[in-house]
Symmetry: C2
Subunit: 141 residues, 2 copies
DNA sequence: CAGTAAACTTGAATCAATCAAGTTTAGGGC
DNA sequence: GCCCTAAACTTGATTGATTCAAGTTTACTG
């Protein structure tokens, strides 16, 4: 399915900024809004900051993009692939990578007590150090 | 162990703002920095914004407090109880509650592949709607 | 091909949190 | 008990990601 068809399937208008954002996120997964803005402007120089944020929200609401917001770092976006994977984040530099869900079935996704909350998503974030920052820390220690 | 002893045990100085913050967080778990500031000022009117942030960071680093940062909402703090529990967050109003880790042992905490990251913490966040917001949504739907 | 609501632009504002620089104070040493 | 010094605090300004507000353009419906 082309990006145009994807947008149409969700009942969204097909515009140049939207196509450019989809392409940019596809080319650079886990990009920040700022990086996406830069990438989009390489093809469409006139696009505004607000425009990119609007597009990101619209596409996220439609389920075409997934938004990841690691504590203490700007939000990142990836194309929704439908699979249930999680993320590992570097405490030092904010580097982010995908982590497949451990051992087949999704554990931890049915909490014991939810205090009356209706849960629709369980999100797992692994915190640690990326290889680069670990090396740097060893060097100074 | 008293709060004073807790601070001493971590090699931290015992000051009025620190004791007040510990007490405030104990009385109102999952409070935001702003709420903690307000609570602390009821007893110590002169305490500054920066002072509370400094204390929160110092106590968090020392392991006396735990900081929770739900995406799109200000950070919240709780007293470190040592147990491994997670959190459920309301998408609508940001309400937050504790969730015991499902079924005894900690699942999902050993990711399959970590791309060379050294992981030291696995964090699980459940997203959904709190009872209040669910009722409100049903009423308008 | 015209009408309209959605999508965009510009420009200013918000909010949590942090930085910078100077002052106070807790607690070890005399 | 009283200095001394680093840690802890205060005031005041600033950052940075994101959002609000108001007006203009543009993709799709009829």
């Amino acid at each position: 399915m082309t990006d145009t068809e994807l947008l149409r399937a969700e009942g969204l208008r097909v515009t140049a900024p939207r196509l450019a954002v989809l392409e940019a996120v596809g080319a650079a997964p886990h990009a920040t809004a700022d990086q996406i803005l830069t990438a989009v402007r390489r093809e469409l120089p006139g696009v505004s900051v607000q425009g990119v944020y609007d597009v990101l929200h619209a596409l996220t609401d439609a389920g075409l993009l997934r938004c990841i917001e690691p504590a203490g770092h700007p939000a990142r976006y990836e194309r929704r692939t439908g699979d249930n994977h999680h993320h590992v984040v570097c405490r030092e530099c904010g580097a982010l990578d995908d982590v497949d869900c451990a051992v087949g079935h999704a554990p931890c996704l049915t909490p014991s007590t939810t205090h009356g909350f209706s849960v629709d998503l369980a999100e797992v974030t692994y915190w640690g150090l990326c290889p680069g920052c670990r090396t740097a820390r060893d060097a100074t220690a």
